[in-house]
């Protein structure tokens, strides 16, 4: 796409330094932009090609696979039957929780099989996403407000929040598994005797607590960065006008920090929707902690094509959520990124 750049001038972005050519508009300007376009396409080509190989190719190949039947043991002949076109059956099998029946055709998947878990995995994924992102937003906002204040030891706090972020998720999962062990420090501190990984609610909350611990710092830092862009004079002026602390928060902080906040929530939501490491290691997907990602991974060894359909469904779900965020909730990532939002601060 970047290789067919024409000589049409583009909008000057709001930031990014001074334009290179200051001459009068005309042929020279067009040539300048054409030459920049040529430059840009050369500079961007390696990245675009690399991403096309590692992302676009697998997506297309997953979609192609998802319309193929998995090779399976033919119940009549007792031989492995090759796949062949499957139409939409891989998709409908997941959505209606249908499995191949012995005599051909499909029946409702028996409980315990992967095929019967699509809606519960979807539910679990959204449950984790909504609960963790909500907790992380509230906690992250609170942390950011504290970190934005001036006090002795502020830099210590700002450094400390990076510690959970820097620990790999696999290690985090093992650490919290140990904390939540029956004889572990978690039960000891709160004087409880909960079998954390033994039933649904504690198992889910073990994952939620671990995830919140690990990712709130990221949220807090993004919100803090947003808070720091609000000029102090605005608060001073509001104070002089007699606005209460709550009014200042609601009328100044919230609207001004909203762009950064929305981007932070969007990032975290998309990240939570693909949650894998924590439940996979911490609870091994048991007790209703199987997310869509875990279901895909479990399916891979039972049939590529069906797994490809499920991963495509997962991708579509994530895409729809991202679309809703950007379109309706005003999380403008590209505008933020390109600096076009800068004038508004």
């Amino acid at each position: 796409m970047a290789t067919e750049l024409g000589p049409t001038p583009v909008k000057e972005p709001a930031s990014g330094g001074t334009p290179i050519h200051h001459g009068p508009k005309g042929v020279g300007e067009d040539n300048a932009i054409a030459s920049q376009g040529k430059w840009a396409s050369w500079l961007l080509a390696p990245t675009i090609v690399a991403l096309a190989i590692v992302i676009v190719y697998p997506i297309i190949s997953a979609i192609v696979m998802s319309f193929q039947k998995d090779a399976a043991l033919d119940p009549v002949t007792g031989l492995f039957a090759e796949g062949g076109p499957a139409g939409l059956s891989n998709y409908t099998n997941w959505i209606f929780q249908q499995c191949a029946a012995p005599g051909g055709g499909t029946v409702a998947c028996p409980p315990g099989t992967l095929g019967s878990q699509f809606w519960s995995a979807t539910g679990t994924t959204f449950y984790f996403t909504i609960v963790t992102v909500t907790l992380e937003t509230i906690l992250g906002f609170w942390m950011a407000i504290i970190m934005a204040r001036t006090f002795r030891g502020r830099s210590l706090v700002r450094a400390a929040v990076l510690v959970p972020w820097a620990i790999p998720t696999a290690v985090t999962a093992q650490l919290w598994l140990f904390i939540f062990a029956f004889e572990g420090i978690g039960n000891k501190l709160f004087n409880t005797t909960i079998l954390w990984t033994g039933s649904e609610i504690p198992a889910r909350w073990a994952v939620i607590i671990a995830d919140t611990w690990k990712t709130t710092p990221f949220m807090a830092l993004l919100i803090l960065a947003g808070l720091q862009m609000i000029p102090a004079e605005v608060y001073e002026a509001a104070k002089v006008d007699g606005a209460s602390a709550w009014q200042r928060f609601r009328m100044i902080t919230l609207p001004l920090v909203k762009p950064a906040l929305m981007v932070a929530i969007l990032f975290r939501t998309l990240d939570a929707l693909r949650m894998f490491d924590l439940p996979y290691i911490l609870t091994e997907g048991s007790n209703n902690t199987t997310t869509l990602s875990i279901l895909v991974v479990n399916q891979i060894r039972q049939g590529f094509n069906s797994a490809a359909a499920l991963s495509t469904i997962t991708f579509i779900i994530i895409f729809i959520v991202a679309f809703i965020f950007v379109r309706f909730l005003g999380a403008n990532v590209v505008e933020q990124q390109t600096g076009a939002g800068k004038g508004k601060k």
Binding site: V10, S61, P164, L175, F178, Q337
Partner: protein
């Protein structure tokens, strides 16, 4: 009482209320800061304390270090139960460095173009790169698993390096793009006035100035590759597995018993260098992390 003294008394009271309120606000700030410190550091502290605790006292819950020993670190590297933690460390370093270098080399050019040049489809390219960084790894794993099975790449290093580029390269590009935007580009202009070509200006003037930004991006890229688990857990084998997979599958002498102290020791080894690196470059790292969201 005269009006003047009454007024003074009132002012005094007002000042006292304000002072009190300020004092309370500052107390609240310190209490909150202490809660944040505890919440962020306590679990990490527990990992380190457990790593140094004798395996016989795994579930000792005294908060200060007790039964201190270095045995767990030896156990972590012990291969007699089928763990290959030492090898996994080397694998992770190798994979992380390769992915980081490839992503930086490709990404630095793209970031320069995005930060500096005007061209059509700029927003489209940015959107594509940001979208790529949010792309779910699970959507890649199935086709790659099949492809790598067919060409016999399962368990090879390239099977682990190539998928990592899919999320490290976009991260590299957008972090560096926002760093590049903040740079003093007038110097480049000056170099061009002095007769450098745009390429020369980039190499001789901009590159040295951009070094800290590139270094920070490298740390972020390395960390995200170092933390990768999903793809590695499916496409690696015993010989090529990275540390995340080794730690997740860490086996003890008895299959039913999870060797927590050794796992915590392994976790400490994996984490401490990163934490030190992150704390030393704290300011830059935070700037890089938040670059995409607010700049």
């Amino acid at each position: 009482m005269t009006a003047a003294t009454e007024l003074r008394a009132q002012q005094d009271r007002g000042r006292k209320v304000a002072q009190n309120r300020e004092k309370w606000a500052s107390v609240r700030t310190y209490v909150s800061a202490a809660v944040i410190l505890f919440w962020c550091l306590a679990p990490a502290y527990w990992m380190v304390v457990t790593a140094f605790r004798d395996v016989g006292y795994t579930y000792d819950t005294s908060l200060l270090p007790t039964h201190v020993t270095l045995d767990n670190f030896a156990t972590a590297f012990d291969t007699s139960f089928g763990n290959r933690f030492g090898q996994a460390l080397l694998n992770s370093v190798f994979i992380g460095v390769t992915v980081t270098v490839i992503s930086l080399v490709l990404g630095v050019f793209a970031a320069y173009a995005l930060a500096r040049l005007n061209f059509r489809f700029k927003y489209l390219v940015l959107g594509f790169i940001l979208g790529a960084s949010m792309f779910p790894g699970v959507a890649l794993i199935t086709p790659l698993f099949q492809l790598f099975t067919n060409i016999g790449w399962i368990g090879t290093y390239q099977a682990l390096i190539i998928p990592n580029i899919s999320f490290v390269l976009p991260l590299t590009v957008y972090t560096m793009t926002s760093f590049f935007r903040e740079m003093p580009w007038e110097l480049e202009e000056a170099a061009r006035v002095d007769g450098c070509t745009q390429g020369q200006a980039f190499r001789r003037v901009i590159m040295p100035l951009a070094a800290p930004a590139i270094f920070t991006t490298a740390i972020l890229a390395f960390i995200s590759s170092w933390n990768e688990f999903l793809i590695a857990s499916q496409l690696s084998n015993d010989a090529t597995q990275p540390v995340t997979v080794a730690i997740a599958n860490f086996a003890g002498a008895q299959p039913q018993q999870i060797p927590y102290t050794a796992i915590m020791a392994a976790g400490t080894i994996v984490t401490i260098p990163l934490v030190i690196l992150v704390l030393v470059f704290q300011r830059k790292i935070v700037a890089g992390l938040t670059a995409g969201a607010v700049k």
